[in-house]
């Protein structure tokens, strides 16, 4: 540690010097024992439930046997990866993941911005506030509840089906139809999180200097040109930051959402990387292969964040982290 180097230079026992130079490590440890004690549980948590599992990824290279533990399980090199890449179900999960991610980028990503622009254009603050409270609510309920609510409205025994049957039409069961499943999934994400996603855009819009609009209007810019030249540039930075975050997380397309509905529509339609890892790694006990899939996913995710951030910097934006 660099600390001990500077500590050895400042002679202990000369109080005048300690005001300017860093006191020795021993003294700093003693002076800060309260702080160190406060840090201890948190540090233990991050080591135990982040860094140790991180190292535990070694089971991706092992023939892991739960009864022996991961210290004793034999190393098998890249065999798990070979098995993984030879599994057609894995590639199906990859394909599904990418397809759902693309749908979300196209339909879900711009939705909060659109809603923010709409709400921002409302004049009455009371209506604005009312609409805001309503669209925020679904963010806070669990995915189990979201799926339950959708089932009650759109399921085979749900509200819409009941209504159709009462009127002599055939019922429709959107909840268990694999062909419309991508639409359902995207619809649920929008329903749940459009309000939450909107907040940050609304804040950016609230900070636009109103006199910019006025001068633009005086210069003859109409409604749409003002939006193009004043409003959209104001949300550009936020949009790019959110896009980078989204890209970095693109392989996690709502694990619980898929897990909860996989039974209803079948694995072919609803298997994504995370559910693949859960079923193959934990349920079927293929620990090594599951860990290998998780590692592949993690590495690609990290590369995506890094790459997307590079692109954001190339466009002169901050991205998620600087430099």
């Amino acid at each position: 540690m660099s600390v001990s180097k500077s500590a050895s230079k400042s002679l202990p026992g000369k109080p005048g010097q300690q005001l300017h130079k860093r006191p020795p490590l021993r003294v700093r440890l003693r002076d800060n024992w309260v702080m160190l004690a406060l840090m201890a549980p948190g540090v233990l948590f991050f080591v135990g439930f982040f860094y140790v599992p991180m190292l535990g990824n070694v089971i991706a290279f092992q023939d892991y046997q739960p009864f022996i533990g991961f210290k004793e399980s034999p190393l098998v090199g890249l065999a798990n990866f070979q098995e993984l890449f030879a599994d057609p179900a894995f590639w199906e999960a990859v394909r599904n993941t990418l397809a759902f991610a693309a749908l979300q980028l196209i339909f879900f990503f711009p939705a909060p911005l659109a809603l923010a622009l709409l709400i921002n254009s409302l004049i009455s603050p009371r209506v604005k506030k009312f609409v805001q409270s309503i669209v925020y609510l679904p963010h806070f309920i669990s995915w189990v509840l979201v799926v339950a609510l959708f089932q009650q409205v759109l399921g085979g025994a749900g509200l819409v089906s009941n209504y159709l049957r009462d009127n002599g039409l055939s019922a429709l069961d959107v909840m268990s139809d694999p062909t419309t499943f991508p639409l359902l999934i995207t619809g649920q994400v929008i329903w749940k999180d459009i309000g939450w996603g909107m907040i940050i855009y609304l804040a950016a819009l609230a900070n636009v200097d109103q006199s910019l609009y006025e001068s633009a209007a005086v210069d003859g810019a109409g409604r749409w040109r003002r939006m193009w030249h004043v409003t959209l540039p104001a949300v550009r930075g936020v949009t790019i930051m959110l896009l980078v975050l989204r890209l970095g997380d693109v392989l996690s397309v709502g694990f619980e959402q898929f897990l909860l509905q996989r039974d209803a529509v079948g694995a072919r339609a609803a298997e994504v990387l995370d559910t693949y890892i859960y079923y193959h790694g934990v349920v079927y006990g293929d620990w090594g292969v599951g860990a290998a899939a998780g590692l592949v996913k993690g590495v690609i995710g990290a590369l995506m964040i890094w790459g997307a951030n590079k692109v954001a910097h190339a466009f002169g934006e901050h991205g998620v982290y600087s430099k």
Partner: protein
């Protein structure tokens, strides 16, 4: 508000700006305003309707449910029978107790550890502070993966223990960053004054820092509480014993997967209609969130913004 480091306009100021259409803005066309009104109304209806359906069906009587074929939008004689049934002992009542306990204990522990670490990391000169901060920030970019997590929880002997629902998610790095940012914004003079008065780190935390950060601590606490209440997957992963299930897992089994609750599991002889029982369970899972929503609504905007700007 400025202490959040984000120049939000004050309420009154914003109202003044948007109360009336400014003189330079052209009046909206009739079709435009009508279209806007329709779109907004549809959005609100789509958001609210599922909640209403669930609430009214949970309150409906057997006759009404049979007559309507399953769903009732306006129950003529609301009854709490379904709630009485699911709460009269048995699997749902137990799940509610479990969820409440996990939420209360989990939130308390999470707050304690998060505040402690955030406070220590907000001060300069604490040995190891910088590497530990980096260590925390790194966790925001990467996740260790489900299988190794399961293995660690298993090897720690936490399977089928309620600790498996709390310890692996004890500290959320995002919440930590928010708290630390707030603590760092407390004026340095306050700390110095306290030190001159002879207060140590512990006294400064409990007597100065915490009273000043009540608001942000409340926000972080709400976030934790909602996360604990809503958690479902960890319980499914780590708890094999269905007698230990929290409400979300019960909800999944009996409502989403549509297994029917037998009189035996509920511990009663006389059964209200299945549909209203299911909806009563949905409402039970929903109620705490609805009760907290006014606070969530009020505070979380700030929380999101602070995190987004600082993190």
């Amino acid at each position: 508000m400025s202490s959040f480091g984000f120049p939000l306009r004050g309420k009154d100021e914003r109202r003044r700006v948007r109360e009336e259409r400014p003189a330079w803005e052209e009046p909206p066309s009739k079709i435009g305003s009508a279209a806007k009104a329709v779109v907004i109304t549809v959005i609100c209806a789509v958001m609210v309707l599922p909640f209403l359906t669930v609430l009214s069906t949970s309150l409906a009587s057997r006759e009404e449910i049979t007559a309507s074929g399953g769903f009732v939008l306006f129950p003529s004689e609301p009854t709490l029978d379904a709630y009485r049934t699911v709460l009269s002992g048995g699997i749902v009542s137990r799940a509610v107790v479990v969820s409440v306990l996990i939420t209360v204990v989990g939130t308390a522990l999470s707050l304690l550890t998060t505040i402690a670490l955030a406070y220590a990391l907000s001060k300069r000169g604490v040995p190891g502070g910088k590497p530990i901060l980096l260590m925390v920030l790194f966790t925001l970019l990467f996740a260790p993966g489900m299988v190794p997590m399961y293995v660690v929880v298993k090897e720690l002997g936490l399977l089928d223990s309620y600790w498996s629902l709390i310890l692996p998610v004890l500290i959320n790095a995002f919440n930590l960053v928010v708290l630390r940012a707030f603590f760092m914004n407390i004026p340095e003079e306050l700390y110095q004054a306290a030190r001159i008065d002879g207060a140590g780190d512990w006294r400064i935390l409990t007597r100065i820092v915490l009273p000043l950060s009540k608001g942000v601590v409340a926000v972080v606490g709400l976030f934790y509480a909602v996360t604990y209440w809503n958690a479902f997957f960890n319980a499914m992963l780590y708890l094999n014993d269905s007698g230990k299930w929290p409400i979300q897992l019960v909800l999944r089994t009996y409502v989403v997967q549509n297994k029917s609750m037998t009189a035996d599991q509920l511990g009663i002889a006389h059964m209200p209609p299945q549909q209203s029982l299911s909806m009563a369970v949905v409402m039970l899972a929903l109620l705490p969130i609805l009760a907290l929503f006014p606070f969530l609504q009020k505070y979380f905007t700030k929380g999101v913004l602070t995190g987004a700007i600082k993190g």
